[in-house]
Symmetry: C4
Subunit: 199 residues, 4 copies
């Protein structure tokens, strides 16, 4: 058992870096003279991917912050659930970059692959939240008591919803890739709005 | 409502990373033997863009630091105004890189695009400050009382000035791109000097 | 002598950045239209290298966290043992990238080089732990007393085991490179499991 | 005036990122099958540049840590001296990369340029230390009193020595570039050794 200060500091570091590294995927195009505006316009897919991932990591940080105000001690299981969460968060720039590239390339089959990959990793992140919330709901001694445990029990619903919605996005994306993009933008916004409700 | 410690830590992380990542846009040129000095000289646009953005992020951090010494609690609106500020800050390396590239390429139309893009994003950052200051000036309970609210009410003027000045820089840049560069260097210096006056 | 707060903050920063930078080695392949899935599949070596290194840095952070809960003061020798540890950690993305590249290239001799390089640097990291633990076991005044010194004395065994196991992995890799990969995945897992046991 | 906590946190962030980003200049060579070992050997210049810069930033962090244990308040001048220090630190990966590239290229004139550039920026960093120490030696109210001011007065000598030694390295490098490299490795080691003596 240990206090939560360094876990928060390390997690803040990973979140801050992951959210800031996303900008490295906005490559300046190798434009011909006079074509910069046109070539910047071609990056629309990269902009959508960037905003989606920025919002998602921002919301994850908010949720992490909210959750840890109620967590008083960390045990081994929680430590690893948290590392799992950091793993999926730190990985997010990769499917974001794949998605950017596929949206700029024309082939539908590539977009399908990219959209499903993004949905899988975003869904895996929701699954690590589920692990975290599940453990906390059964260990009131790690939180601020039975109220905290009950709170984390309710939070599991939001994690399940994320797993389900990214699953649906993957299925939709298999048929019609572009139709999955609104999911990627709307889900973080949904989490952002409901994060307030549950605080 | 929550205390400000983790918001400051996360924001410090994003500022520190964004300001340090700027150096990645100073690419070592792929020089022919014996041509390193000449090719390094060609990067003058990148150096101006680097110094402008470093100064701007440095000043933003100073302002953030000054503001948060007067902020005692964070609510949902403030949380999102702060994330908006981090969004524009984390994005700044992208227009900086576009500006570097356009200053090294010869076409005036490309420089026009790059200068306007930089001014828009730098102006959007000033606009997120305006949101932050506006909210704080109407919520004395988030600050150290009525003095704090009055302070943030006055700070709005500096944010409006930034929006206006980057707007003028965008207009000037549409006509004569190079003439917008002094704005990009002078504005952070102005903010740096006045940050002391209002503290 | 100085307190440990800033050493922990700086180390957390380096660990957080090194673990998050690993994702930059997952390059999006320059795929031909319709070939994204196939080309992503070719990156299997990069995925193994990524997961191994993420786990290793995650476990190092856990160990560091556990160790520093028992360290109360830092002297000059400890400061440099810690910087040595950060050196090997910050360097790990390089052998990881070399390993990824070699696993994707076909030549056995290249894989041999990459595997040995990875084992050497991972083993050097275990050696810096040994220095740290050795010093702490002889300086109870830096820890929480004789119990702490005894604890760090026992921890040296785990460091020796790491040096030995990565040494064996290097030898195995010289003969049959692919056979060294399980070592790279299993060792961090072993450390993860035993980090709980000794806390 | 403000307390030093956030200044330390922000500076730790920049130091941690700059020291970790250095690894990105250790590019995996685009080797032909079977040539990895040979091509890794060609990177010797990059390894020297990496170790020099890692040591230098590590020592700067140590010095910063030592200095701030004696600094109790930050004023505007100190804030900007510190930002100047972060500027030169965050910039260091650029001359490091230039030096790596020039050592791998054959032309002596390129190495000359790279060595002088590195010496200039490393010397500029020593000059920002001088500003910091000078201000502190004249403002005992920012430190822990007259003892602190006297301490920082003495520290100015080490900063002058850095400016002088990097100046000599630049001159030596103009004549015989390779002869400047030992300066780059030895100076951080000298600072490391004397940082203990003055703490």
């Amino acid at each position: 058992m240990s206090d939560t200060r360094r876990v928060e500091a390390f997690s803040d570091g990973v979140f801050a870096i992951a959210i800031t590294l996303l900008v490295l995927d906005l490559h300046v195009p190798a434009f011909d003279p006079g074509r910069l505006l046109h070539d910047l316009g071609h990056l629309w897919g990269a902009y959508i991917a960037y905003v989606s991932s920025f919002l998602y990591i921002g919301v994850i940080w908010l949720n992490h912050h909210n959750a840890f105000t109620r967590i008083h001690r960390i045990d081994w299981g929680l430590q690893w659930a948290n590392l799992g969460l950091l793993f999926t968060t730190a990985l997010l720039p990769f499917p974001t970059a794949v998605l950017s590239a596929a949206l700029q390339s024309g082939a539908t089959s590539d977009r399908r692959v990219a959209v499903v990959l993004y949905a899988l990793i975003a869904g895996a992140m929701a699954a690590t939240w589920l692990c975290l919330f599940h453990r906390l709901s059964h260990h009131p001694e790690l939180t601020d008591g039975d109220d905290g445990a009950a709170f984390f029990g309710r939070e599991r619903r939001r994690a399940w919803l994320g797993i389900g919605a990214y699953g649906v996005a993957a299925c939709v994306g298999l048929i019609y890739p572009i139709a999955a993009l609104p999911f990627f933008l709307v889900l973080p916004i949904f989490y952002a709005l409901t994060s307030e409700g549950t605080r």
